[in-house]
């Protein structure tokens, strides 16, 4: 994908990956170059039917965002629950540019996914908004890595995870501020919602700050749905499962807001599907 200098795409460009062969592996490679002054929103959707044999998806995504350019890369991933999803995503960003990641991970058996952004030029920014939903048999090890090398660069990472039925969510963030990144700023926030006592959620933040004028912050919260909330919604007529779905969709709302309407609806439907029968 090549966006020439100064070109702004008025609509998101959509791609769709589907893996339709039992026991197969998919090794696609996405290369996007956004030339100076250009602007692109790229959407990647992934799904696969379930086979008896495990599948492997090992994609590579290379993104080059030049100066004064903007790229938003959105992913809604719903691989089947026996997929090994091992992805490598890298973005290199020039000066005065914006890299935005929006990532929703719902499927796969095991995921290793840590999109990485190199902010090389001054005054560039990276924003990462992500959500993962780990249900039974799922081990989703996700996160994000930002390397701030340019002066006055900023990184903002906001992730949410939902764990249920023994699902495992691990969130790893790595913020590296280089020696020359004067006044670089980074904030990482991670909110986890646990829907039962058998699931697991871990947050592993890492920070490597080599410039004294940089400011880096991290916050993590973990919570569950309170009985009072369920009672409140049920006493307005929602069934228990509707009440829980409503709360989880509300939790995911900051992420779905970042998606185009049809993808936001799709994501809410995925949550609804995941939540069905999730009482107790």
């Amino acid at each position: 994908m090549y966006v020439p200098e100064g070109v702004t795409l008025p609509y998101p460009l959509q791609s769709y990956f589907r893996l339709n062969a039992q026991g197969a592996g998919q090794f696609e490679h996405t290369l996007i170059i956004v030339e100076p002054g250009a602007d692109l929103h790229f959407i990647e959707g992934c799904s696969a039917p379930k086979y008896y044999e495990a599948n492997l998806h090992a994609g590579a995504v290379e993104l080059f965002v030049k100066d004064h350019a903007k790229l938003r890369y959105s992913t809604i991933e719903n691989w089947s629950k026996n997929m090994f999803n091992l992805n490598t995503k890298r973005a290199t960003v020039g000066a005065d540019s914006i890299m935005e990641w929006v990532s929703g991970s719902f499927g796969s058996h095991v995921s290793y996914l840590y999109p990485t952004t190199y902010l090389q030029g001054a005054h560039s920014s990276c924003e990462f908004t992500g959500i993962t939903f780990a249900g039974a048999t799922q081990d989703l090890d996700t996160g994000c890595k930002v390397i701030l090398n340019g002066a006055d660069t900023t990184a903002s990472v906001d992730t949410k995870s939902i764990s249920k039925d023994g699902g495992i969510n691990t969130f790893r963030s790595s913020i590296i501020v280089g020696r020359h990144a004067d006044r670089a700023r980074a904030t990482v926030s991670c909110a986890s919602l646990m829907l039962d006592d058998i699931s697991r959620s871990d947050t592993i933040p890492a920070m490597d700050v080599r410039n004294g004028s940089a400011s880096v912050g991290h916050e993590a919260t973990i919570g569950r749905i309170s009985d009072d909330t369920i009672l409140y919604l049920m006493s307005r007529g929602c069934s228990e499962s509707e009440a829980r779905t409503m709360v989880v969709n509300g939790f995911a709302d900051p992420v779905s807001k970042e998606l185009p309407m049809e993808y936001a609806i799709e994501m809410n439907n995925l949550i609804k599907l995941e939540m069905e029968g999730a009482i107790g």
């Binding site: 309170s226 009985d227 009072d228 909330t229 009672l231 409140y232 919604l233 049920m234 006493s235 307005r236 007529g237 929602c238 069934s239 228990e240 009440a243 409503m246 709360v247 969709n249 509300g250 939790f251 995911a252 709302d253 900051p254």
Partner: protein, 264 residues
């Protein structure tokens, strides 16, 4: 006609609580409560702090934190003792909470739409619904931009109570239990909430069970019966004049009477 006769023989009451004892797993709270509310009637439940008034409200709504050890709750001709709060809500019971919860990420307007659309009798077009919500917002002096905000998130105590009244007017329940809806409100908010209650009485002809300490909110309502609860027991029931009596003399004589009864 036949339907009315049948219901008449069973009970003329909308809500009938008989011999109800309930509490949490390790603590009995309500003892042998019997109370009836007829359709369209206004009842007041009074009592000192910690008497169990809110617990009774929650038990009528079906809060699973409380277990019923004996007795029954009949609503609109059906035994609801074993039903969950959602089923009771759909049957026409409404509880306005002392501290309504905040639900992040759920816009107020879509929440209201959802809880109305799940009721066949309230199902309506998006346009009619918007009009109706607009009317109620005006009636209750609720700023339209609240409708796009997240349900109760960051709302003041008074705003939350107004939103409770808004749900009351939208859902048109047969019975509304108002658990200290008036507590902690300033004069203006109190008068708006009173307006909401009046509107509910007139527009929906609904029954009310008001749990309150504040007799001011009752001034504008015609009260049919007053119940007094002390330490989980209903110790007195009387006409509206009982409220003035309590206002003047407090709960001391009811507490003494209960103590004597316990000794005897």
């Amino acid at each position: 006609m036949r339907d009315m006769l049948e219901r008449g023989t069973m009970s003329d009451q909308l809500l009938t609580i008989s011999g109800l004892s309930a509490g949490t797993e390790d603590k009995p709270i309500l003892h042998d409560i019997s109370l009836s509310v007829g359709a369209g009637e206004t009842h007041v439940l009074m009592g000192p702090n910690g008497a169990g008034k809110s617990t009774l409200g929650h038990v009528i709504m079906g809060d699973p934190i409380y277990q019923v050890s004996s007795g029954s709750i009949t609503f609109d001709g059906a035994d609801v003792t074993e039903l969950g709060p959602d089923k009771r809500s759909l049957a026409g019971i409404f509880l306005s909470y002392q501290a309504p919860v905040e639900v992040p990420g759920v816009p107020l307007y879509s929440f209201l739409r959802t809880i109305c659309q799940m009721r066949p009798e309230l199902k309506t077009t998006a346009r009619k619904f918007r009009t109706r919500v607009g009317e109620i917002a005006e009636q209750l002096d609720i700023n339209q931009n609240f409708l796009t905000r997240e349900l109760n998130v960051g709302f003041s105590g008074g705003e939350k109570k107004k939103i409770e009244m808004m749900q009351l007017l939208l859902l048109r329940p047969k019975l509304a239990i108002l658990d200290e809806t008036d507590s902690g409100l300033d004069v203006d908010a109190l008068s708006i909430v009173s307006r909401g209650i009046e509107a509910y009485r007139q527009e929906c002809d609904g029954a009310l069970l008001m749990i309150t300490h504040n007799t001011r909110i009752l001034e504008r309502l015609t009260v049919d019966r007053t119940h007094v609860m002390v330490r989980g027991n209903l110790v007195a029931e009387g006409p509206a004049s009982l409220i003035d009596d309590i206002d003047a003399h407090g709960f001391a004589r009811f507490e003494e009477a209960l103590a004597q009864k316990a000794e005897a």
